[in-house]
């Protein structure tokens, strides 16, 4: 018998995608809005999340999962905000996937949450391919990184629902070219909403949270 071609036609990450879809329906049914924060290392995901959790906790029931290769430093920082925080140690894995999220949720009662933030591993490449059941994917770009990051990593920026520019309080000192950054983001993802923040000073945090609240209403 000679070799023959058998059609398969399935996503290579089918297992992950199916689990992510299940997670998303679980989240939606429980009424928890899930935000996946992605960026390169050091863009300020933890700082933004710390400020966000502190600001939101009076009005909403918030929690966070934070992915890290080896340390639990970020989880410790976030836990200071007094909301439920769990660490996901990925070991050498460069991204979070749906299985890790499912396992990390453990015994958490999702019905007791309004917003769940997931801080992905600092990486501008790998997290783009993995749906983790989030409602929104937010990419961070700090003013210290260079305005051409979106052009270097178009896939991640293209997969995002919003871009947050961080560390805007030091934009002038690092000669951040705001117009170039906006233009580059919109080259790879036309029309992507952009919010400018500075976690240290609180600049833009109100606008960021208002945007999250408006999105949670639309999606749920």
């Amino acid at each position: 018998m000679s070799p023959r071609i058998v059609e398969v036609r399935q996503n290579i990450l089918k297992q992950n995608d199916l689990l992510a879809r299940d997670l998303r329906s679980r989240f939606s049914e429980a009424g928890v809005f899930v935000v996946n924060l992605v960026s390169g290392p050091g863009a300020g995901k933890t700082a933004l999340l710390e400020t966000t959790l502190r600001t939101m906790r009076d009005k909403h029931r918030v929690a966070a999962l934070t992915g890290d290769l080896a340390t639990d430093n970020d989880a410790q920082r976030l836990a200071r905000s007094g909301v439920p925080v769990k660490q996901i140690s990925t070991g050498t894995v460069c991204h979070l996937d749906a299985t890790m999220i499912s396992n990390a949720l453990g015994t958490w009662n999702l019905a007791e949450l309004d917003f769940l933030f997931i801080e992905n591993v600092g990486n501008l490449v790998c997290p783009a391919s993995y749906d983790i059941g989030e409602h929104l994917r937010v990419v961070l770009l700090s003013v210290t990184e260079g305005e051409d990051k979106p052009l270097k990593y178009p896939t991640l920026f293209n997969s995002a629902d919003c871009a947050v520019i961080t560390k805007c309080d030091i934009a002038a000192a690092v000669e951040f070219d705001r117009e170039a950054a906006y233009a580059n983001i919109h080259e790879v993802r036309p029309g992507l909403p952009i919010i400018e923040t500075a976690s240290k000073t609180g600049q833009g945090v109100e606008e960021w949270i208002a945007w999250l609240e408006s999105q949670s209403v639309v999606m749920s």
Binding site: M1, S2, P3, R4, I5, V6, E7, V8, R9, Q10, N11, I12, L13, K14, Q15, N16, V93, C94, H95, D97, V125, C126, A128, S129, Y130, L151, P154, T155, L156, N158, S159, H186, E187, V188, R189, P190, G191
Partner: protein, 121 residues
């Protein structure tokens, strides 16, 4: 470098399919990879060669079809092939094209099997 994880997912899926067919020898896996899939074809191929060792499909070749990035241009009212994900613009009229039609694929499209030969495991 998540290509190794992806290669392993692919191999798992292929082994599962092969087992359902009575473990024929798998000659090749055909996959389709889009420019917005987040996967580098060369890295995936390298990872695949490493990850297939010791599996039921250790002799399978990997055939990668790189698909095009296609977006809908509102001004031309037409789907257009975009040269680079760095510039999501219509190549004809230069309009921004946020509406991506295809280019995210990371698809296990087909498998070449020889049912005259079976493998154990």
């Amino acid at each position: 470098m998540h290509e190794l994880s992806i290669a392993m997912s692919l191999i798992d899926a292929a082994c599962e399919k092969a087992a359902l067919m009575g473990n024929p020898r798998v000659e090749a896996l055909y996959i389709r990879v889009g420019p917005l899939s987040g996967v580098v074809a060369d890295a995936l191929e390298f990872s695949f060669m490493v990850a297939r060792e010791g599996t039921a499909i250790s002799e399978a070749r990997l055939v990668i079809e790189k698909t095009a990035l296609v977006a809908h241009c509102v001004r031309c009212d037409k789907d257009q092939t975009i040269d680079s994900p760095q510039h999501l613009r219509c190549p004809v009229c230069n309009e921004a094209t946020p509406d991506v039609v295809s280019g995210n694929e990371l698809e296990f499209s087909a498998m070449e099997v020889d049912e005259g030969v079976t493998t154990n495991s």
